[in-house]
Symmetry: C2
Subunit: 155 residues, 2 copies
DNA sequence: CTGCCTGCAAACTCTTTGCACGAAT
DNA sequence: ATTCGTGCAAAGAGTTTGCAGGCAG
């Protein structure tokens, strides 16, 4: 799903809900889709401010749920205190995360069986599955041995 | 793994690390193993205080990592702000959680394939897997229809 | 008497919210 | 006008930490 398609999707979602398309919301959207890796609310604020200086922290936090609800952003909680986000694509609904404990990067991996598994097990409990997430913590052997992670390039 | 075995494991771990076996630490341990469901730091504090009134919040928060590191407790983060804990057993290292969004209960389910999957995918990235977790959010159809969850009995 | 442990309270991090002003319809 | 959106600053939740005193070895 391209950024353009997502932007239209986001706008449509706002309109449908009677919300307004403001410059701040568009700046936050643009900042989010310019990121190449998972990002936090705080880093999103920084980048959004570079696009539109009037963007405030409060608006970022208020806009993030709007974007996840309209399915243009996906929220990833790795249990580290702060939440991460990344642009949603058609391809990454059934994904798991591999989190490198050394370089803290988050890798998205395809996990096609996940949905089936979640459904199977939920139904056994009489529950209706909504979503599932698989997260793998892993360490970088190269980093441990050489003090340098080949995947590492900041975050 | 029985509570007695775990208690010895916990004590041995403390001793091995040159830490002391104090009444507060034992009270926190006892409170944790008396719980029947997942518990939070705050509820653990309450129960530990009932056993030993001198237990403070700080000590609970300082003891929880000691217990998870010595493998007598397992930490479960469902991305809800606060962390949950439960006694570790031999059987629940390869488990997933099904979280009911209606009654907020957490069900532990066996997921034997998980370890294999985590390994496979980590190794593909050149990483060494440490742990994996699968979490399924689900809703209770009964609750939605009858306003009452058959699984519900407080938390 | 040295070093681990403790409770207390303050600090901290991330996120949410009340408020009054401003902008869009 | 009315409703929605905003920034600011304060509040909030959960957790961590500095400190001075206490207790074990």
């Amino acid at each position: 799903m391209s950024a353009d398609v997502s932007r239209e999707k986001f706008k449509a979602s706002l309109t449908r809900r009677g919300l307004r398309i403001t410059s701040q919301r568009l700046a936050i959207f643009a900042a989010a889709f310019a990121r190449k890796e998972h990002f936090t609310a705080e880093s999103l604020l920084k980048h959004a401010k570079a696009i539109d200086a009037s963007v405030s922290r409060a608006t970022v936090y208020r806009t993030l749920p709007l974007m996840t609800e309209s399915q243009v952003l996906r929220e990833v909680d790795i249990g580290s205190g702060e939440k991460f986000y990344l642009p949603a694509t058609d391809m990454n609904t059934q994904v798991a995360q591999v989190i490198c404990v050394d370089c803290h990067r988050i890798f998205e991996i395809s996990a096609p069986f996940m949905e089936w598994y979640g459904s199977t097990v939920s139904l056994k409990l009489g529950l209706k599955p909504i979503s599932q997430r698989l997260q793998v913590s892993a360490q970088c052997s190269a980093f441990r041995q050489q003090g340098r992670c080949p995947n590492h390039e900041g975050k």
